[in-house]
């Protein structure tokens, strides 16, 4: 987790303009190290989701490049803003999907992933029978089942209530500490980004570009004590002020 680790993926001067003429990203640079937890923080419409989709290969940059120093190999896990589950099949089959699509059989991996997010007992349930938080857990289990090198999360907890969100934040950190995968987490919540990340990339809106980066040097494991600590409050204030400047278009 030191800054000396290898780079997993980097974006170099990425521009993205949609067919509608909307400029989502301009000259966006990002470098993510192995095992790191990075958040992209910015207001909605600042292109952070677009950046994530470009990294996932779901969208092509108009200019610039995505570089994978260790080769683009290694599966990517993606967690969308909505749970994005197949409603016609049960939790286990939803989690099994990525394996099935690559013709792999790994029942143990499905059970592991479900157990990791606390859904082991709900394997036979259908998505509609789950609460919002549980659906999101299922979605995370699906992203983990291929044991991806890189986990991309696009505001996964934005639609959840605060109690559920805090719980999922803690569980996500626990999974991250255990598996040590690289996580790129998109959020518009200052509090969430500070709580989770080692490093926060603050973005400016329209077009999206990197404004500045803030390290959150607080040690892990982080828990409710950290959430109520003076340090946490201080980091939040710093990040919020920076975000304010980014939105006003001032200097970092």
């Amino acid at each position: 987790m030191t800054s000396g680790s290898k780079t997993v993926v980097s974006l170099r001067g990425v521009d993205k303009t949609f067919e509608s003429g909307v400029e989502a990203l301009r000259g966006f640079d990002l470098s993510v190290r192995d095992g790191e937890f990075v958040s992209l923080l910015g207001p909605s419409g600042c292109g952070k989701s677009t950046a994530l989709r470009i990294i996932a290969g779901l969208s092509k940059p108009s200019m610039g490049a995505v570089e994978w120093p260790n080769g683009a190999g290694g599966a990517i896990g993606f967690v969308f803003q909505e749970p994005t589950l197949m409603p016609w099949t049960d939790v286990a089959a939803n989690v099994r999907l990525p394996l099935e699509l690559s013709h792999r059989e790994a029942p143990a991996a499905v059970n592991d992933a479900l157990a990791r997010v606390g859904l082991a007992e709900f394997a036979q349930a259908y998505p509609r029978e789950l609460s919002g938080g549980m659906k999101m857990r299922c979605s995370i289990a699906r992203a983990l089942v291929t044991e991806p090198q890189l986990l991309l999360m696009d505001e996964p907890f934005a639609a959840l209530d605060e109690i559920t969100r805090f719980k999922l934040n803690n569980d996500l950190l626990a999974v991250w500490q255990e598996l040590r995968r690289t996580v790129i987490f998109v959020t518009h919540s200052v509090f969430e980004s500070v709580y989770l990340s080692q490093r926060i990339v603050v973005m400016t809106p329209r077009p999206g570009r990197g404004f500045t980066e803030i390290e959150i040097p607080a040690p892990y494991p982080r828990d409710e004590r950290f959430r109520t600590s003076a340090d946490y409050a201080r980091f939040c204030r710093e990040v919020a002020e920076t975000l304010g400047k980014a939105m006003a278009g001032g200097a970092p």
Binding site: A56, F78, F80, T84, M86, W88, L97, S102, R128, T146
Partner: protein, 260 residues
């Protein structure tokens, strides 16, 4: 009374009321049976002509069933082809629409000229029934959650995996809605074709019995045959609804009772 009882009792009450008024009107005004037969006479005709009408019903149901199966298969296969190859959709969709909007009553006599009669009747049943399957399945295949499509793309799913594992299951509710409409329509198509054929003096289906009874002023038998046809339509609707419910009951909102 609870809601379930009411839902059965109220329509039954209306039925009894209508039958009673009907019977009373026929008795009081002494209307002859060749103008309006009383419900009792219709029922006794149904029993007396039971064998004949039953055989005719089976003929009509057979054609309806064949037309429905062909329409379902044709509609679904065509919808998949449209979805997979845009050129196919652009080439054939306008003609599917033309086939649909041209009244089948007007097509039936032409089909009867070019095709042997059983095939022509089947053709009519197919023409009216396949379009709702095609249109609904096409819509269903197109309304897949974009994020799920992105997910399949992320895991490098093949085109056929996307079709089998994503698009077809996602389209199932719309497809079943199309099939439910097609069931009723294939009965209509079969009846229309039989009537058209019947006036040419051939056929033995239920609709032909209606036309034939009309010529002979056997009005009670007309009513009896009509009753059987409408019961057949109701039965088709219920069978298809039950099938649809069975397929969707675990996951689709349409099949799940709201808890209050």
């Amino acid at each position: 009374m609870n809601e379930r009882t009411l839902r059965i009792a109220l329509p039954l009450f209306v039925l009894v009321l209508v039958l009673a008024v009907w019977q009373a009107v026929v008795s009081i005004f002494a209307i002859p049976p060749y103008v309006l037969p009383a419900p009792g006479l219709v029922l006794s005709t149904l029993i007396a002509d039971g064998g004949l009408l039953w055989r005719s019903l089976l003929v009509t149901l057979g054609i309806t069933f064949e037309g429905f199966i062909l329409a379902a298969a044709g509609g679904i296969v065509l919808a998949i082809a449209f979805n997979q190859w845009r050129a196919v959709e652009y080439s054939f969709y306008p003609y599917a629409v033309i086939l649909q909007v041209t009244p089948v009553v007007a097509i039936a006599p032409l089909l009867l000229i070019y095709l042997p009669q059983p095939l022509a009747v089947l053709g009519c049943a197919w023409i009216v029934a396949f379009f709702p399957v095609l249109a609904n399945t096409t819509l269903g295949l197109k309304s897949v959650d974009h994020n799920l499509l992105a997910l399949f793309e992320l895991y490098k799913a093949s085109r056929w995996q996307v079709l089998w594992k994503l698009k077809l299951p996602a389209a199932l509710p719309q497809m079943l809605a199309g099939l439910r409409i097609a069931g009723g329509l294939s009965l209509i198509g079969a009846v229309v074709a039989e009537i058209a054929a019947g006036s040419a003096g051939a056929g033995s289906g239920l609709a032909y019995r209606i036309a034939e009874s009309g010529y002979r002023l056997n009005i009670p038998r007309m009513f009896a045959a009509l009753l059987l046809l409408s019961l057949a339509g109701v039965a088709i609707f219920f069978v298809l609804s039950a099938f649809s419910h069975l397929m969707l009951r675990r996951w689709h909102e349409s099949a799940i009772r709201r808890e209050r």
